[in-house]
C-alpha cells in the first residue's frame, strides 16, 4: 500500500462530481470533483508499491492536456498505465457530459 500526492495548475472549473472505474484486480476507481482552491490535486492510493515515478509520468501527461481544477482521488488495484489513462479520460468525459 502506498499513498502518492500530486498537484497541478488549473484553468477551468469542473462542472460536476463523477465516479468511474471499479474495485477489482488490474483496475482502479477514480473520483473526480471540483477542487476548492482553483488548482488540481491528485491523491493516489495504490495496492502496488514502488511505481511512484510511473504514476507521476501518467498524471503529468494527463494534466498536459486537461486543465480542470479537479480534486481527483484514485484507488488503484494494480492497473496498467494504459488503464489508468483511460479511466482518467472517462472521468473527464463524464464530468463534462
Amino acid at each position: 500500500m502506498e499513498m502518492i500526492k500530486l498537484d497541478y495548475p488549473a484553468e477551468e472549473t469542473v462542472p460536476r462530481r463523477v465516479h468511474v472505474g471499479v474495485v477489482g484486480s488490474g483496475d482502479l476507481e477514480v473520483l473526480l470533483e471540483p477542487s476548492n482552491d482553483g488548482q488540481a490535486h491528485v491523491s493516489i492510493r495504490t495496492s502496488v508499491d514502488g511505481y511512484g515515478a510511473i504514476w507521476k509520468n501518467v498524471l503529468d501527461r494527463f494534466f498536459s492536456r486537461y486543465k480542470g481544477a479537479a480534486a481527483i482521488e484514485i484507488n488503484d488495484f494494480g492497473a496498467t498505465p494504459g488503464i489508468v489513462a483511460l479511466r482518467l479520460q472517462q472521468a473527464v468525459e463524464e464530468s463534462q457530459s
Binding site: 468511474v20 472505474g21 471499479v22 474495485v23 477489482g24 484486480s25 483496475d27 495496492s47 502496488v48 508499491d49 514502488g50 494494480g78 496498467t80 494504459g82 488503464i83 483511460l86 479511466r87 479520460q89 472517462q90 468525459e93 457530459s97
Partner: protein, 231 residues
C-alpha cells in the same frame, strides 16, 4: 475471431482460439521463457515449484504466446514470451470448474474462498453460464500449490459468447455482494473482457480490455457501435 500474426501450422496454441487471457499454460521446459528484460531472481524458483504461466491479454508475436509469471507478492509479475513448442498443456478456468477442482482442495477448511466457489457454481449453473476460477485461485487449483491468501479477492471468469442479459448481470452482482469475500468477475466477450459490476451498472460507456489495450465502448459485444474518437 480472426487470428493474429503470421504463424505456421503445427501444435501452436493460438490466442483467441486455443489460448485466451486467464488460461494457464504448463511449460514443457522452464528455460523456454523469454523476457523483455532479464528475469528477476524469484522467477526460476516459482517455475520450479509449478511450471505454470498465465496467458496475458496482448497480441501474439510470430506465434509466440504472451505469458506472465506469478511471483510471491502482488508486485512480482514477470511478462514473458513462450514459443508454442514449449507448451505442455493448457488449463482454462472452465476446465477447473468442469472437474470441481476445489472440492478436494487441501486448504478448503482454511479459507472461505473454496466454499464461495460452491456457491458461485450453483449460481452460474442456475443461469446456464460457462465460468471458472482465475487469478490466485485458478493458479492454486491448477498448480496444487498455495497461492490464495485470506485477503485475496476471488477472481472468476464468465464466458459470454453472446450478449449477457443485463438483468442476469445485476442478479449475479447482488448475489456475489452477499458473499463473505470479494468476488471479482470478468465477463469475456469475443471482443475482450469487461468487469461484471461495471456492465451491470449500465453506464453509457464501459471499459473493454482487448488484445490491443483498453477501450471505452457502449456495447462490449459490438464494440464498433457508438465508438467515438478518444483522443
Amino acid at each position: 475471431m480472426k487470428n493474429d500474426s503470421g504463424e505456421r501450422g503445427g501444435p501452436a496454441l493460438r490466442l483467441g482460439e486455443d489460448a485466451r487471457p486467464h488460461d494457464l499454460v504448463e511449460l514443457r521446459r522452464r528455460d523456454a521463457l523469454v523476457g523483455e528484460v532479464p528475469a528477476p531472481d524469484w522467477v526460476q524458483g516459482c517455475l520450479a515449484r509449478a511450471p505454470l504461466v498465465v496467458v496475458r491479454r496482448t497480441r501474439q508475436r510470430s506465434g509466440w504466446l504472451p505469458v506472465g509469471v506469478r511471483g510471491p507478492s502482488r508486485r512480482d509479475r514477470f511478462a514473458a514470451w513462450l514459443p508454442p513448442q514449449a507448451v505442455a498443456s493448457r488449463i482454462r478456468p472452465e476446465d477447473l470448474t468442469g472437474r470441481c477442482a476445489w472440492r478436494e482442495a487441501p486448504r478448503r477448511r482454511d479459507l472461505p474462498h473454496f466454499a464461495a466457489l460452491d456457491r458461485a457454481q450453483s449460481l452460474m449453473e442456475a443461469f446456464g453460464l460457462t465460468w471458472g476460477p482465475a487469478g490466485s485461485m485458478g493458479y492454486e487449483l491448477a498448480s496444487r500449490t498455495p497461492c490464495v491468501t485470506a485477503t485475496s479477492d476471488l477472481d472468476l471468469v464468465l464466458r459470454a459468447a453472446n450478449e449477457l442479459p443485463r438483468e442476469t448481470a445485476r442478479a449475479l452482482v447482488v448475489a456475489f455482494a452477499m458473499m463473505p469475500i470479494r468476488i471479482d468477475v470478468q465477463v469475456e466477450t469475443p471482443a475482450g473482457g469487461v468487469a461484471l459490476v461495471e456492465y451491470a451498472a449500465g453506464a453509457t460507456r464501459i471499459m473493454l480490455r482487448t488484445l490491443d489495450g483498453p477501450r471505452l465502448v457502449a456495447d462490449p459485444w459490438r464494440p464498433e457501435i457508438g465508438r467515438e474518437d478518444l483522443s
